[in-house]
C-alpha cells in the first residue's frame, strides 16, 4: 500500500513537473515571440541624417536615441538622453541658450558613456559637406553653436539664433550618433559648428571633412545600420527589402538602469518584426489569421467592417484617435503650366474633399484649410473656408490665368506664352499604388478635370519609385499624406526655397513665403506664432502649391493579447516599445 501511495505521489510530482515545464516553455515561447507590426512600405533608407519616410523614423527610434522625444502618453516632449528638459536662458533679444545635461546612465553598446562631444559631433555632421544632410541642415540651422562644459563632459549648452518657443523641443529632436565610430581621432573638434554652417559651397575641399564623408559613406548607415550602432534599445537583426525588418532588444540597454523609468525608455518586446505588406486587404487578412499583431493606419472602411465583426472582435482590439496626418495634393510648380497660382487654384477646385471624406473615410476626419489641424484652435485659421469643389469656378480661374479652351473639347486648354509658343494643360497624377484613399482622390480629380476638359493621366507608383519621383520632380500632381505633430511648426523642409530638390517636392517658394516660414520657426511667443501661422495658411491657400484636403483619423487594430499600446494622435500612433504580451494563451510564433 505504501509502495502504491509512493508511486502515486511520484506520478503527481511528475505531472506537476511536466506542467511546470510546459508552462515554462509557453512563457518562454511568449517572451520569444516577436510582435509583428504592419508597415505599408519599406523604409528604403535608415540613415539617421536622411529620413525618407515615417517608417524610417520609426525604425531609427529603435536603433538610436534623441535628446528629447514626443511622449505619446502625456502629449508632451520628454527627455530621453537628456536628464531633463533644457533650461532656457535668453541672451538679449535675439539669442537663447539651452542648457542640457545628459543622463549619467546613457552609454553606447561598448559601455562608453554618451557625452556632450557626441552631441556636438552629430550637430557638425548635419553641416558637413559631402553627407546626405540637406534636410537636417535646413531644420537645425537655428543652432549656431554648442558650448561644452569643461567641468562636466555630460553638460553642454546650445546657442540658438532667435528665441522661438519651439526651439526647446526642436533642439533635442535629432538622433545622437557616436563620435568614436566615425571620428575616432576627434579631428572634427577643431571645427566649430559656425565654421561648418557658414562654409561656402565654393570652399576648397578639406581633407578632414572629406575623410569623414568617406567614412560615413563606407559605414552606409542607410543600408547597414549595424555598422554605426546607436544607443537605442534595439539592434537590427535582419532586413529583407520590401519584406520585413527584424529587431532584437539589446540584452543590456543603458535605460534598464534608469529608475523610475518613463514610458519613453520602456523597451519591453524582446523582438519586434515590422512586416511590409503594401496591400491593406492582405494585411487585414494576415491580422485576422494571427500572422500580424498590430495594424496601424488601417483603412477606415476595413476598420469599421472588422469592428462590427464578432469574430474579429473576439481576437482584436480597436483604437480610433484623431491624428495629425493630413492628406494633401501637391502641384509641381517647377513645371511651366503649374507655375502660376491661378492655375493651381483652378485645379484645386476640382478636388471634392468633402465627397472623398464621406465616401472613403466615412466622415471620420476633419476638413482643413491648411496644414494646421483644426483641433489646434490657437493656430488654425478658422477665418478661411476650405477650398470648395467647384468645377465651374475652376473654368473661370483657368480663363483668368490665360488659358483658352480649344474649339474641339478633346483638345483641352491652351495658353499663349508671351515669348511665343503655346502651353497645353495636360497633367499626370502620381500616387502610391497601395493606398486606396489616394486612388479615390486621383480618380475623382481626373473625372472632375475631364468634365472641364483638362486631360489627366493617373500613374499609381510603387512606394520607393514614388519617393524618387517626388525627389526628382517627375510628376505634375501628387497625392500623399503628410505627418505632422502639435509641437513644432517648422515648414522649412517642406516649403522653403532651401529645400527645393530635397523635402520641398512642389518646388514652391517665394520671398514672402520664405520670410514667413523663417518667422514662424523663430517666433518667440505662442501668440506671435499663431498670428504668423494663420497668415501662412492664408498665403498657402492663395498660392496653392499644396492643397490640404483633410486630417485623417488614426485607426489601429491589434491583437487582444497585447498590452501597453498607448494609442495616440501623435505619430506613429502607438508605442511599439511599450507593448507586451498579456498573460493568457500563447501567441503562435
Amino acid at each position: 500500500m505504501y509502495r502504491v501511495r509512493q508511486n502515486s505521489s511520484a506520478g503527481v510530482l511528475l505531472c506537476l513537473a511536466l506542467a511546470l515545464l510546459l508552462q515554462g516553455c509557453k512563457a518562454n515561447r511568449r517572451e520569444a515571440a516577436a510582435i509583428k507590426i504592419r508597415w505599408a512600405h519599406d523604409p528604403e533608407n535608415l540613415d539617421p541624417l536622411q529620413l525618407a519616410n515615417q517608417t524610417a523614423v520609426d525604425a531609427n527610434y529603435l536603433l538610436n536615441c534623441s535628446l528629447l522625444q514626443a511622449d505619446l502618453v502625456t502629449h508632451q516632449f520628454a527627455p530621453v538622453l537628456a536628464e531633463a528638459l533644457p533650461t532656457v536662458q535668453f541672451l538679449g533679444d535675439s539669442l537663447m541658450r539651452l542648457h542640457y545635461s545628459l543622463r549619467p546612465e546613457a552609454t553606447w553598446d561598448n559601455g562608453r558613456p554618451v557625452l556632450a562631444t557626441d552631441v556636438a559631433f552629430t550637430l557638425k555632421l548635419m553641416f558637413c559637406p559631402g553627407l546626405p544632410n540637406e534636410t537636417p541642415s535646413s531644420e537645425y540651422r537655428f543652432i549656431r553653436e554648442i558650448l561644452l562644459d569643461p567641468n562636466n563632459p555630460r553638460r553642454f549648452s546650445l546657442v540658438c539664433t532667435g528665441q522661438a518657443v519651439e526651439y526647446v523641443q526642436a533642439s533635442g529632436d535629432f538622433f545622437v550618433l557616436p563620435e568614436a565610430s566615425l571620428d575616432p581621432g576627434g579631428e572634427m573638434r577643431r571645427f566649430s559648428l559656425a565654421d561648418l554652417q557658414h562654409r561656402p559651397a565654393t570652399a576648397l575641399p578639406n581633407a578632414v571633412l572629406q575623410a569623414l564623408a568617406q567614412r560615413y559613406a563606407a559605414a552606409a548607415p542607410g543600408q547597414t545600420p549595424e555598422r554605426l550602432p546607436g544607443c537605442g534599445p534595439y539592434r537590427l537583426v535582419k532586413w529583407e527589402k520590401d519584406r520585413y525588418l527584424r529587431f532584437r532588444r539589446k540584452p543590456h540597454w543603458w535605460a534598464d538602469r534608469v529608475r523610475p523609468r518613463p514610458v519613453l525608455l520602456e523597451a519591453r518586446p524582446a523582438r519586434l518584426q515590422y512586416v511590409i505588406i503594401p496591400d491593406a486587404a492582405t494585411a487585414s487578412l494576415a491580422l485576422q489569421r494571427g500572422d500580424l499583431d498590430v495594424f496601424p493606419q488601417m483603412p477606415t472602411r476595413e476598420f469599421t467592417r472588422l469592428r462590427t465583426s464578432p469574430a474579429a472582435r473576439a481576437t482584436l482590439n480597436f483604437y480610433a484617435t484623431a491624428s495629425y496626418d493630413v492628406t494633401t495634393v501637391g502641384f509641381n510648380t517647377r513645371h511651366a503650366v503649374l507655375a502660376d497660382a491661378l492655375t493651381r487654384q483652378a485645379l484645386s477646385r476640382c478636388l471634392d474633399a468633402a465627397g472623398v471624406l464621406k465616401a472613403n473615410e466615412l466622415r471620420q476626419g476633419q476638413r482643413t484649410v491648411g496644414l494646421i489641424s483644426p483641433s489646434d484652435r490657437l493656430n488654425y485659421n478658422d477665418s478661411l473656408t476650405p477650398v470648395p469643389f467647384d468645377p465651374a469656378g475652376a473654368v473661370r480661374l483657368l480663363r483668368r490665368a490665360g488659358w483658352q479652351r480649344a474649339a474641339r473639347p478633346e483638345a483641352g486648354w491652351r495658353r499663349q506664352l508671351p515669348q511665343g509658343g503655346t502651353q497645353e494643360l495636360r497633367l499626370v497624377v502620381r500616387y502610391r499604388a497601395d493606398e486606396q484613399l489616394f486612388a479615390t482622390i486621383a480618380l475623382q480629380f481626373q473625372a472632375a478635370a475631364a468634365s472641364i476638359g483638362v486631360p489627366v493621366a493617373l500613374l499609381p507608383t510603387e512606394s520607393g519609385a514614388f519617393s524618387m519621383a517626388l525627389r526628382n520632380g517627375d510628376f505634375d500632381v501628387y497625392v500623399r499624406s503628410l505627418r505632422g505633430n502639435p509641437f513644432i511648426f517648422n515648414f522649412t523642409s517642406l516649403l522653403h526655397s532651401q529645400s527645393v530638390g530635397a523635402g520641398n517636392a512642389t518646388g514652391f517658394s517665394t520671398p514672402e513665403s520664405d520670410r514667413l516660414i523663417e518667422a514662424i520657426a523663430a517666433a518667440n511667443t505662442q501668440q506671435r506664432r499663431a498670428v504668423l501661422l494663420r497668415r501662412f495658411q492664408a498665403l498657402m491657400q492663395q498660392q496653392a502649391p499644396i492643397v490640404p484636403l483633410f486630417f485623417l483619423s488614426s485607426h489601429i487594430a491589434a491583437s487582444k493579447q497585447l498590452t501597453g499600446l498607448h494609442p495616440s494622435s501623435i505619430k506613429p500612433g502607438f508605442t511599439a516599445t511599450a507593448m507586451d504580451w498579456a498573460a493568457g494563451p500563447t501567441t503562435p510564433q
Binding site: R305, G355, V356, A359, Q444, Q446
Partner: protein, 323 residues
C-alpha cells in the same frame, strides 16, 4: 484542291456564338450605349453600394463609387479590343514564323548581301559604337542586292531559320508567361493598352508557330508540293499559295483557346494591378476591388460570371467538328 466543308454546331456552340457575338457587339458600341454613368466617373455619394440600390446603379458600385454595370461594359470592350487583336496578331506571326521554319528548315541559303543588310540593321538597332556605321553598311548591302538582280546572285551561308524560330519559341516558353509579362511590365514602369497588346502578342505567338511548323513538315512532303516544284513554281509561291493554306488548319481550333489564354492572362494581370492603367475598365480589376470590400459580393460575382461564360464559350467553339 477543292474541299467541300460544312459546319455543324451543337446548341452549346450556338449559345457560345451568340454570347461571344454579344460581347463583340457590346464592345463595339460601348461608348454609344445609354449608360447612366461612365466608368471613369466615381459617384462618391454611393460607394460600395449593392445592386438595385439608389442612384440608378443597377449592378451596384465599387469601393471608389464607380458603376459596376458601366465597368462591366467597358471591361468587355477592353477584353475584346485587347485579346482579339493580340490573338490574331500572335496567330499571324506564329503562322508565318512556324510556316517558314517548317518549310525551309535550316537548309535555305541566303545571299551574303542579306546577311550584311541584317548585320547593319542590328548594329543600328543595338546602338553599337558609331551607330552610323549600321545604316552605311546596310545601304551598301542594299545597293549590292539591287545590282545582283541584274547579275547572278551569289548564295551565302545557310540560314538556320528553323533553329532560330524554335529556339526563340522555346526560350519564351521556358519562362511562365505571367512571370514574363509581369517582369516586362514592371521594367517598363507600367504599360499602356497598346503596350499590353504588344506584350500579349509577343508572348502568345510560340504556340501557333509550333502547330503550323508541325503541320508544315507534313505538308511540304505531300505530292502536290513535289509536283509544284517539278513544274518549276518558285519556292516562295509554293510556300504561300499551296502549303500555307493547309499548314494553318490547326489554328482554327487553337484560336479560341488562344483567346481563352489571353483573356485569362489579361484578367490576372489586372487583378494583380500590373496591367492596364487604372482609368481603363477591366473585369480583372473589378474582381480585385472585392478584396477592399469583402462584403460587396457583386464586385466578384458579375465579372466572374462574364469571364467564366466567355471562357466556356470559347472552349465550346474550340471543339467544333467539320464534316
Amino acid at each position: 484542291m477543292a474541299v467541300l466543308t460544312t459546319f455543324s454546331f451543337s446548341w452549346t456552340q450556338k449559345w457560345a456564338f451568340a454570347w461571344l457575338g454579344l460581347l463583340v457587339a457590346v464592345a463595339a458600341v460601348a461608348p454609344a450605349l445609354p449608360l447612366p454613368y461612365l466608368p471613369t466617373v466615381p459617384d462618391l455619394a454611393h460607394v460600395a453600394q449593392a445592386p438595385l440600390g439608389p442612384g440608378r446603379h443597377w449592378l451596384g458600385t465599387d469601393v471608389q463609387g464607380r458603376d459596376v454595370l458601366s465597368l462591366l461594359v467597358f471591361g468587355t470592350r477592353t477584353a475584346v479590343l485587347l485579346t482579339l487583336p493580340a490573338a490574331l496578331l500572335a496567330a499571324c506571326i506564329g503562322a508565318l514564323a512556324g510556316g517558314a521554319a517548317g518549310f525551309w528548315g535550316n537548309r535555305r541559303r541566303v545571299e551574303t548581301a542579306y546577311w550584311v543588310l541584317a548585320a547593319g540593321g542590328a548594329w543600328w538597332v543595338l546602338r553599337l559604337p558609331a551607330p552610323w556605321l549600321g545604316p552605311l553598311v546596310a545601304a551598301l548591302a542594299g545597293a549590292r542586292l539591287l545590282m545582283s538582280k541584274r547579275n547572278r546572285p551569289t548564295p551565302g551561308p545557310r540560314l538556320p531559320l528553323d533553329a532560330l524560330v524554335m529556339g526563340a519559341a522555346t526560350a519564351l516558353d521556358s519562362i511562365p508567361r505571367l512571370v514574363l509579362v509581369v517582369a516586362m511590365a514592371a521594367s517598363a514602369g507600367g504599360v499602356s493598352a497598346t503596350g499590353l497588346l504588344v506584350l500579349l502578342t509577343l508572348t502568345a505567338w510560340p504556340t501557333p508557330a509550333r502547330l503550323v511548323r508541325a503541320q508544315m513538315l507534313r505538308v511540304r512532303a505531300l505530292p502536290f508540293a513535289e509536283a509544284a516544284r517539278a513544274a518549276g513554281v518558285p519556292e516562295w509561291r509554293i510556300w504561300l499559295r499551296h502549303a500555307m493554306p493547309h499548314a494553318i488548319k490547326p489554328l482554327e481550333s487553337n484560336f479560341p483557346l488562344s483567346l481563352v489564354s489571353l483573356l485569362s492572362l489579361e484578367s490576372t494581370l489586372s487583378f494583380l494591378g500590373v496591367g492596364l492603367p487604372p482609368e481603363i475598365a477591366s473585369w480583372g480589376r473589378l474582381m480585385a476591388s472585392f478584396r477592399q470590400e469583402p462584403s460587396a459580393w457583386w464586385l466578384l460575382a458579375f465579372p466572374t460570371i462574364m469571364l467564366v461564360i466567355s471562357i466556356l464559350s470559347l472552349n465550346a467553339l474550340a471543339r467544333w467538328r467539320r464534316i
